[in-house]
């Protein structure tokens, strides 16, 4: 469904991604894990078109994406949730969700999708008239994901959905992501919370210093020696 092939990317003179290649298949829940500054967010920005690669190819459903304008990406069925959610704080919860259905085909079925999103996140329905700026961190994250779902994406890109959440909320959040995936939305998840991400997902890629350094099923990687010592703070002393 999504295929990145030897992507190189840079911010000015600073190269952030080196020959990054990976793919996500229809229906999968895939994680991209790695430490801070590894290039995870950059990879998502490349996919959604917010950043242009300097070389390499991206394909979505066989269509090239690398020259695609960022505001048209969502029409293809790709929806990205930015780190921290970036909800529109001066607008109500419902207005935020309605803006998620900005594109034509999503706007037509807006009310129906809204019901579905409220079903996944009942908390949002309770607070629908409230200004998004008054929400807690966890609620904002739910709103951001809900807003992304309003465009009826086939591929959902999530950037650190667990960031800043209490452990109990992280668990709930991951349950919701799983539910979304089971409803047929392919998910590419970027996480620093490596263990939780690996337990949740079908497959994962490990990104380090802008390069893919490992890949495999979640359970494979969890038992992988270097991953354990580097990210999970365990070592066989």
């Amino acid at each position: 469904m999504l295929k990145l092939d030897n992507i190189n990317a840079a911010y000015g003179d600073l190269q952030a991604l080196w020959d990054v290649s990976f793919q996500v298949n229809e229906g999968e829940l895939v994680a991209l894990v790695g430490p801070n500054g590894a290039g995870k967010t950059t990879t998502l920005r490349i996919i959604s078109g917010l950043l242009r690669p300097i070389s390499g190819h991206i394909e979505f459903d066989g269509r090239p994406l690398e020259r695609h304008a960022a505001h048209k990406t969502v029409e293809l069925g790709i929806s990205q949730v930015l780190e921290g959610g970036k909800v529109f704080t001066t607008m109500s919860v419902q207005e935020n969700l309605e803006l998620g259905a900005f594109i034509g085909r999503a706007r037509q079925v807006k009310d129906e999708t809204l019901k579905r999103v409220y079903k996944i996140f009942p908390r949002l329905e309770e607070r629908k008239t409230q200004r998004a700026g008054t929400l807690s961190g966890g609620e904002r994250q739910m709103l951001a994901i809900g807003r992304a779902l309003m465009s009826k994406p086939r591929l959902l890109l999530l950037d650190e959905p667990s960031f800043g959440l209490a452990p109990i909320l992280v668990e709930q959040m991951f349950e919701m992501i799983k539910e979304i995936n089971q409803q047929g939305v392919t998910v590419l998840l970027v996480e620093q919370n490596v263990r939780a991400a690996l337990e949740l997902t079908h497959r994962a890629y490990v990104l380090e210093n802008g390069r893919i350094v490992g890949q495999g099923t979640g359970s494979d990687l969890l038992s992988f020696e270097s991953i354990r010592s580097a990210y999970l703070g365990e070592c066989d002393a």
Binding site: L50, A69, H71, K86, V87, F88, E98, L99, F102, R147
Partner: protein
Amino acid sequence: MLETLAQNLVFGILMGALYGLAAVGLSLVFGVTKFLNVAHGELLMLGGYASFWLFTLWSVDPFVSLPAAIVFLLVLGAIFYKLLFARMVKLNEGEKIQTTLLIGFGLSLILQNLALRFWTADTRSITTWYSGAVFAFAGVRFPLVRVASMVIAFVVVVALQLFLQRTYTGKALRATVENWEAATLMGIDIQRVYLLSFVIGAAMAGVAGALVSVGYSIEPTMGMSWTLKSLVVMVLGGLGSITGTFVGGILLGLTESATGFFLSLTYKEVVGLVLFILILIFKPQGLFGAKEG
């Protein structure tokens, strides 16, 4: 004595509504695009001349020709945007403000001098059959034309407010102000949002100018003063608050007329700028502006 004061304040409010209208236009453009278009006053001047020539050459009533002035400025705004401002979109905020300030300044000099060349430096105004109409209340006179202008200014500002609050496009505009990346990911074309807000700002300047040409007078060099007043009001009202900015305009009008009454008309222009500095020092978010975060 008291009647003279009341009269002065009424004139101040009537004038202030036009300051408010002009400033809301500038503030919208600045808020959305971070373009500081200092040629805003010249756009207002062009709106005034559009209305003046339509009346002088074809005797079209200035209130009837308002839509024409709006369309004229929408088109001009789009041309200026595409020609001069569109390529500034990619700059970061600081560079954007500096660069557009220079572009706007150049544009304002060009427009001013073209107006001087073709229309002479004469002060002009529109005199219709109803221009002298006045109704009095408790000894205070209300010129009909200026009251009508204030009503129109108010209606335009309310219409803008409703557009921003209620329509999908208006919400897209507000979303862009808050976070353009998130807005882009919703499928909102930022370039179009910028263009839209720029032409709406230009059209509002056009309406203000047309109203000035009928209630007051216009001349080719009037733009700078209107840009300055709009800036003062924008800061006074606080960015991001449409109604706050409009009220700020009325406050500036009131302050000016009170200064004219208590001190001297000579200080009328200065007092706005003093206000500008005081606000920046003591309440930089403006009287009605939202605090950060």
